[in-house]
């Protein structure tokens, strides 16, 4: 047991608990203390050191403050059911109310039963250290529940703002879509002004019943000093469909796990991701897609641009159980290094125990395409302009596929600006 583990448990005692989740928390606290702390030899943490996190003092959970005007005006302009959390604390005055979303602390009996049925069940805590911590730290959480055959008209937009100094924030989201329900969820993590290195532990569990259809966005756009460990765990039942999009700008620590379980035949998963660490930043995506049953489809595409002395880690595993015949699974990870000090560790893993499947996986690390650069320069663009255009183009291919136009229109110019270019939306969208 490390000091950090002990300190975390002291912190857990500060959390205002929801009474009916007390046992759940207590069990998690015990598990957390019993778990082995990862070292450089722990496979899943090989390239992402936790020393920095261990040195972070976490004297308190954050308090809610006023929402910064600058932050407020820079949110995605969406006609949405909006929930704002500041330092992990719900901010009622910045949020809208809707029947489908409820905080755990306000759940009625029926909703409590639903939460108890799924909370901590989709994630396998024993294999995910920080999920266990999230359970132990659980103060409040959000349940999004869409009943059978209902289609949410508006997207659900969850904004998580970190402000203040060296504070911890625990975020928990449980999404339950009943049979043939449809919804769209955007999780947006940002940093307010005057923030310094804190720690955000954010966990999302998603249950998609037969025929349910979810669009899920997880946008990590925090400041450089941020430390974020997050995960999305999903169970897809028969013919369920998930279309996911992940974005991570770099930070001091940025580790995100995606655990997808195909539990019913005919389920379909599309997952796309973009990571853009710069300077000394790090981004670590670990994805694990498990095909437990036949006739499911997975299509995963992640692209990263690693600049300066930044580091990216991509570990993409696809596991195909011996019963999962007729699986179609593809995984592609492409990386662009724009500096000779930039580093990427990519590891696509395909484990196949069924004999009638169609799978492909590949990873590349490259520099910009010489022919494309020559073509652009031959039309009068400088080498620098051409490089910027090509780098952005490399990820823009994925941005172009974002279904929610408000998210697309929000991200495209902001990410273009990261590459030092002003993108005229008029030109892009006309």
């Amino acid at each position: 047991m490390t000091d950090f583990q002990q300190q975390a448990i002291l912190l857990a005692a500060q959390q205002q608990p929801v009474s009916w989740l007390q046992d759940f928390r207590a069990r998690a606290a015990n598990d957390w203390l019993a778990q082995t702390w990862p070292t450089r030899k722990t496979e899943h943490w090989k390239y992402t050191p936790l020393q920095g996190l261990q040195k972070t003092l976490l004297p308190a959970f954050g308090q809610s403050t006023e929402l910064d005007e600058a932050v407020n005006s820079d949110l995605i302009p969406l006609d949405a059911i909006r929930l704002v959390f500041i330092n992990g604390v719900f901010s009622a005055e910045n949020s809208t109310q809707a029947e489908c979303v409820v905080r755990f602390s306000e759940a009625n009996n029926e909703q409590q039963l639903l939460i108890e049925k799924y909370l901590g069940k989709i994630v396998q805590g024993e294999r995910h250290l920080f999920a266990t911590l999230n359970n132990a730290w659980l103060g409040d959480g959000v349940l999004l529940h869409v009943p059978r055959a209902q289609h949410l008209e508006k997207p659900v937009y969850l904004v998580h703002v970190a402000t203040g100094e060296e504070v911890a924030a625990n975020q928990r989201l449980l999404i339950v879509l009943e049979e043939n329900a449809q919804a769209e969820v955007i999780e947006h993590y940002i940093t307010g002004n005057n923030a310094s290195s804190g720690f955000v532990n954010a966990l999302t569990e998603i249950q998609l019943a037969d025929g349910a259809d979810l669009h899920h966005y997880r946008l990590n756009m925090e400041a450089e000093h941020a430390q974020h460990i997050g995960a999305v765990h999903v169970d897809l039942q028969r013919n369920a469909r998930l279309r996911g999009f992940a974005l991570a700008l770099g930070a001091k620590l940025m580790r995100i796990d995606y655990q997808m379980n195909h539990r019913g035949p005919g389920a379909e998963l599309d997952l796309q991701g973009v990571y853009l660490p710069r300077n000394q930043q790090l981004v670590d995506y670990h994805t694990n897609i498990c095909h437990w049953v036949p006739h499911c489809t997975s299509n995963e595409v992640f692209r990263g641009i690693v600049s300066d002395s930044a580091q990216a880690i991509f570990n993409g595993r696809i596991y195909i159980h011996k019963d999962a015949q007729k699986t179609l699974a593809e995984l592609s990870n492409k990386n662009l290094l724009t500096s000779n000090k930039a580093e990427v560790n990519t590891k696509p893993e395909l484990e196949i125990y069924a004999d009638d499947v169609k799978c492909a996986h590949g990873a590349t690390i490259s520099q910009l395409n010489e022919n494309a650069r020559y073509y652009l320069r031959s039309r009068g663009l400088s080498r620098a302009e051409a490089d910027v255009m090509l780098s952005f183009g490399f990820i823009n291919e994925l941005l172009e596929q974002i279904a929610q136009s408000a998210v697309h229109d929000y991200l495209q110019p902001r990410l273009a600006r990261l590459f030092g270019r002003e993108l005229s939306l008029e030109l892009a969208n006309d």
Partner: protein, 271 residues
């Protein structure tokens, strides 16, 4: 041609001759790709307003010439000189050559997914205008211009929004090249086997585009394998490039002769 235009044309040609105001002069050019010498003592002078066709067998160095003139990396000039509009072309970077008015229509235009065609075209036009100390076009002005130009080459406007050449057919790519040429208004256009892979309709669109751009101030080098293109773009001169140099020069009738006899008689006769 109207009588007045014709007069102006003749006057310009005469004036150029008198003042020796050539647009491009290649003198004793040698160039290699990797370790292989491809261009071996090539001479060519092009005056404003002229259309020169360069024909020749495979491997003669036709495409290499275009790449050398546009400045592509890996194409090393080992001897000779190239003057372009009074400047030493070989001293200029790829993009400087383009901004000075040299345009190479690619044989194989590059597909660049993720980079919007419209943005790319605007960046190219902006670069050219900036170089000429003209103000940049606003997005609205540019879009209007781009739409009009796409119509002139019968390219559906949907292609403006797509990635550069992404998923374009062979013909669409070539039309996109001609569209770029129209937008950039270069003084020297090099068409590198622009006819390859084109059906007869696309060939006509491309040729009409080129012909519409012919003017007393603008010159063309039309590199082609086949005489067919020259039925549509009628050249002032036809050169035969073989073994890295020009072995024969004639008028447009030379193309017909080549079509009939092939290149063999010239290659063996080359000194």
């Amino acid at each position: 041609m109207l009588a007045q235009q014709k007069l102006k044309f003749e006057f310009t040609v005469l004036e150029n001759y008198r003042t020796k105001k050539f647009m491009l002069r290649i003198t004793d050019l040698f160039a290699r790709v990797e370790e292989k010498e491809i261009i071996k003592g090539l001479n060519l002078t092009i005056n404003p307003g002229e259309v020169h066709a360069i024909m020749g067998p495979n491997g003669a160095g036709k495409s290499t010439l275009g790449n050398v003139l546009s400045g592509r990396d890996g194409y090393q000039v080992t001897g000779g000189s190239v003057m372009f509009n009074g400047k030493d072309l070989l001293e200029l970077e790829i993009e400087e050559r383009a901004r000075e008015g040299l345009f190479l229509a690619f044989q194989y235009p590059v597909e660049i997914p993720g980079v919007s065609n419209m943005e790319f075209l605007k960046a190219a036009v902006d670069a050219k205008r900036k170089h000429a100390e003209q103000p940049e076009l606003s997005a609205v002005e540019f879009m209007k211009l781009a739409r009009e130009t796409s119509k002139r080459v019968s390219l559906d406007q949907a292609f403006l929004k797509r990635g550069v050449n992404e998923g374009f057919s062979g013909g669409e790519k070539k039309r996109n090249e001609i569209m770029q040429m129209m937008l950039l208004e270069p003084s020297l256009c090099i068409l590198d086997e622009t006819d390859s892979g084109l059906d007869i309709d696309a060939l006509q669109v491309v040729a009409n585009g080129v012909n519409a751009m012919r003017s007393p101030e603008r010159s063309f080098i039309v590199v082609t394998h086949y005489q067919r293109l020259l039925d549509y773009i009628v050249p002032d001169y036809v050169h035969v490039l073989a073994n890295g140099r020009i072995v024969k020069t004639g008028g447009k009738e030379l193309a017909l002769e080549l079509e009939e006899k092939g290149y063999g008689w010239l290659e063996t006769g080359a000194v």
